[in-house]
Symmetry: D2
Subunit: 363 residues, 4 copies
Amino acid sequence: MVYSVAVAGATGYAGGEAIRILAAHPEFNVTTVAGHSSVGHKLGEYLPHVPQLADLVIQDSTPEVLAHHDVVILALPHGASGQLAAHLDEHTIVVDLGADHRLEQREAWDAFYGGDFYEHWTYGMPELITGTTASGQYLRQREALVGAHRIAGPGCNVTAVTLAIQPAIAQGLVDGSAIVADLAVGYSGAGKNLKRMNLLAAEAFGSATPYGVGGTHRHIPEILQNLAHAAGRTAQDVNDYAVSFTPILVPMARGILAVVSAPMTEQAMQLSDEELHGIWQQAYAGQQFMQVLPLGVLPATQNIVGSNAAHLQVVADRPAQRLIAFAAIDNLNRGTAGQAVQALNLSLGIDEACGLTQIGVAP
Amino acid sequence: MVYSVAVAGATGYAGGEAIRILAAHPEFNVTTVAGHSSVGHKLGEYLPHVPQLADLVIQDSTPEVLAHHDVVILALPHGASGQLAAHLDEHTIVVDLGADHRLEQREAWDAFYGGDFYEHWTYGMPELITGTTASGQYLRQREALVGAHRIAGPGCNVTAVTLAIQPAIAQGLVDGSAIVADLAVGYSGAGKNLKRMNLLAAEAFGSATPYGVGGTHRHIPEILQNLAHAAGRTAQDVNDYAVSFTPILVPMARGILAVVSAPMTEQAMQLSDEELHGIWQQAYAGQQFMQVLPLGVLPATQNIVGSNAAHLQVVADRPAQRLIAFAAIDNLNRGTAGQAVQALNLSLGIDEACGLTQIGVAP
Amino acid sequence: MVYSVAVAGATGYAGGEAIRILAAHPEFNVTTVAGHSSVGHKLGEYLPHVPQLADLVIQDSTPEVLAHHDVVILALPHGASGQLAAHLDEHTIVVDLGADHRLEQREAWDAFYGGDFYEHWTYGMPELITGTTASGQYLRQREALVGAHRIAGPGCNVTAVTLAIQPAIAQGLVDGSAIVADLAVGYSGAGKNLKRMNLLAAEAFGSATPYGVGGTHRHIPEILQNLAHAAGRTAQDVNDYAVSFTPILVPMARGILAVVSAPMTEQAMQLSDEELHGIWQQAYAGQQFMQVLPLGVLPATQNIVGSNAAHLQVVADRPAQRLIAFAAIDNLNRGTAGQAVQALNLSLGIDEACGLTQIGVAP
Amino acid sequence: MVYSVAVAGATGYAGGEAIRILAAHPEFNVTTVAGHSSVGHKLGEYLPHVPQLADLVIQDSTPEVLAHHDVVILALPHGASGQLAAHLDEHTIVVDLGADHRLEQREAWDAFYGGDFYEHWTYGMPELITGTTASGQYLRQREALVGAHRIAGPGCNVTAVTLAIQPAIAQGLVDGSAIVADLAVGYSGAGKNLKRMNLLAAEAFGSATPYGVGGTHRHIPEILQNLAHAAGRTAQDVNDYAVSFTPILVPMARGILAVVSAPMTEQAMQLSDEELHGIWQQAYAGQQFMQVLPLGVLPATQNIVGSNAAHLQVVADRPAQRLIAFAAIDNLNRGTAGQAVQALNLSLGIDEACGLTQIGVAP
């Protein structure tokens, strides 16, 4: 069976990546694309890299247009997807690539977003650790995704930070209230908002510049929520965690390199480099898109461009008594649309890796 | 009077930048350039961007070749400059752009470099805070440079981190033992060593990758030494400071964007954003190459490319209770050769800014 | 059936791309990788973006190592592959990504390469026009590839120029003796030769620079040979064609943007823009990897990165009376390894598009 | 004496570069900056790289605001500067960086621009060859600029193409009716027009794409006019020249690499490479910003970034019987604002090189 898919926000980078992936996916068929200022134009004008769907005409992002599809993917600004989703049939599988259904706690929403609060949906990060069994087995978010009809796609920076540090949180290796996450981020992560002058190419080449600093970035509460889950706790425990989060725009189209550090516990300080590395290997054993690199090898974003993979590494900074965890992901693929398709595969009982790749386009 | 200058290591990036600056400096005349594998070739083959000096023939890096100049600039691997410097006349002004004369403590040298330990020279960072008077005036390294005949040029990453965070250290606003410094760094900072495959252009575009991680980077002890001085203490107090330092190579030729954070003291937590910003403004008042950006404006490396300027900012991450300080510098200019020429100007009683610019090449 | 494949030159960019593609190809299984200075190391050290094959140990590039595979791919410097191929079993399918078996005329080889001349193999460009039937149907190289056991992979620049201009040659629209081909080329096209200083990243960012100029580039005779075939003539007629060919290295990892122009014939000057465009559409009708863009839309290399597609366009410069044809391809994929896998699919009777994509990784 | 300067269009890239240069020029003082949507903001918000002028408040671009300055620089869209200039005092020196006063022939204006035609001003390219004396000495545009009060700054692409090929035109070495000029151009050359989606950074990295193709680019008639002058002829002879002109946007902020070729005359074909190179050396002898590179060395844009220099080379493509001339310039500096300041220096009797540099920021 091939499932019909409608994508709202088709001309944005997130929606475009969803279309790029689904155009080559054997189990899905993108039959409707919706936009806003682009209505009436052909998709090929916006996504010349996806020739198969070039002749699709962009329609308006209304519930009527999106109705009668097996799957609807919403790639819209926050607030917009929440409103639209309320009008979609409950039998339709809806994946929201935006922020409206990620947060479990209204307080966090009010503090970082504001406006209407929408209900929490099943969180679309299959490899998220959600606890540990008595025998030491990791529980994961994957199970919750099987059969889910409303899926909240995680934020891209959130994905990088969570995948990097969650083994340390799950194992109690660090002080979770003193995490620092500094990320080198490509420009597609900043979207297409033409009002932001600093998205112009001439001003991006040769420049590294931070943004969204000082505890204001909207990805912060979602990170804390994930950390609480990784420790086997609930979203109500987020206040036990704190992350100082600083993204840096660097001159590349795609990719996030996350450097996530935290003070090591005394127990962790006793571990050898090999033991520490072994904990990461174990935390991601059997997770086919998670590549814990060999001891001593550091991730580079080029190696994951265009893929759903995460390249991970952990290092002990013993003089500073901090654990440093690294993750490299493609913000549009693993960080957004690839991860969403993986969740969709799980939801529908398709092979989790179908239509996805773990191979990056390098060099 | 025009001073004659010899540059050893003329074909490397640091030496090349020294030549680039001095070629347009009214008080200096580069009369000798020395190299190693390039001996006998014309400088124009290596520095086509400096046409005035294209016909200089590269000579061997021997004491004889370097003798009889007013100034000698050493841009050599560590170990090499220390050996060579021992043979130079004491009346010659020698600036070492390498690491051999930066560290005051033999222990730090042994731990991070090894091999012969060379004497500490006058540290070439004019704006370094070296204490505070009873009346609250900052003391600076500038004074020590007047008349100095042996000058140790600071490391580029060290410069960025020190300039970013030293006001907080001098004012006791942060816990100096829990500093995290993550830097986005351009490829010229990694040199020309052809053995390192990851310096190839095809592998650098579109890639962000960390290096020298886990407390191993040789710039760390120099940072700690500076922090001790900024607090008005001596190099013997370095053990009260710790910095977890991670540089990230990002796809640009020049530039360092340093993100330096540390837990705020309770006193610092009481300060408003304006008060915090005011401390930075005061710390750099009258320092013409130091630009504390307006409150809320974040630095971008493009704005300082080709200049001796540092663009600085400070932000309080109140939820995480960390102070975050930013610095953007050109690693080759402010981080290496520009700062060295500034020190040289001071040494010789020339106007400190002569031959230097605070204007970056943007866009 | 899954065919076993050995790749010689596995650590170069061309060999690496072949491995990247074949690792996800359902009909091939890379079982042997061979190198030179890398012998004994694991493939994962060189190709971290292909995790499935990370544990393959690199072997020496000898006939013995390469023997007993269904397919051997040679990604070696010219001269080396010709020597090695002589020792391979005739039943093995051998694809040479190098230059040794591309040229039909010994004179051309002697003029541009020199050294031993190796026999011409079946040329691996399926869409190459090789003549026109009496009823106006195009003949193509594709047919010659079915069942071929020795395949010469075309040069990357050659592919871009040929695909851009061959409709004009086949239809007699231009003076084929006055072609100008200027190409913007990414750095992976220049290989990994560490002796060439200008491949260093720090010197590539922000720089555009020509190379191999003045009629000396080795891709020229191959272009002329293709043009002769596109006109339905033989390699002996190459002297009726001339192309002034200038590649320009520009700051990107992959991609070729070819601008190929030639004086229009009087007949061509009579054609409307739509008629001209229609000739291109017809020339590539049914060629699934060839995208003739809509009238007025110009190709961009980003849209074909990571894919086997070519994006094509034609424009009449009426004041200058020149026809300008454009092609954008990925030099490693369509220009090298993707095209080779397409030829291999054809050789073995596998679906031509199997394991290949026409979708680029954009943005 | 220090001359007061007003800059209209201060927030665009061309105006910004004029300000960047003049801020460090000892003979000029920028006292007024004017804009449009930016009125009332401080200049520092737009040009953070020029700290000295950060507190200037941007005013409206009216004749009243621009009046009472010694010099007015207009960096405005075509049409706008012509209108404004009509209201400025005749004693004021006005430099137009836009197109309104470049063309001598109304027909060319009507064909490529349309709207009001404004009078031709003294053309601001000092090194333009304007003929040859009986004794073989070159005449140059420089002389016309001394004392000029209305100066038309040349186009950036025009500058690159003219400087590359004019020796061949002046010496009759090529067929001037069959010139092909293909240029790799950085994004600052495309301006800041936010409506053009393809100026977004995420879409520029890793992409090369042509624009303004097919004989439509507005720089074409200006090139032809220059070629006529270089041959010692008048603008009325432009029809004897033709250039097929194709700019290619490549991923860099600044820089133009022009590849300009034309069929060699029989006379030219007799010249050795050394003789050909000697003609270029002679054509630019004594022109301090013109660097004819040593025989065999090719220009790279990185070497001229931030400078007023042009790096030039010539090569004979003997098999194709075409002469290929190369020029690398910084489009904003030599191509726009640097060249304009050079013309201004000449106009006012200041040393031609004052405030300008021939040294590029490399690497």
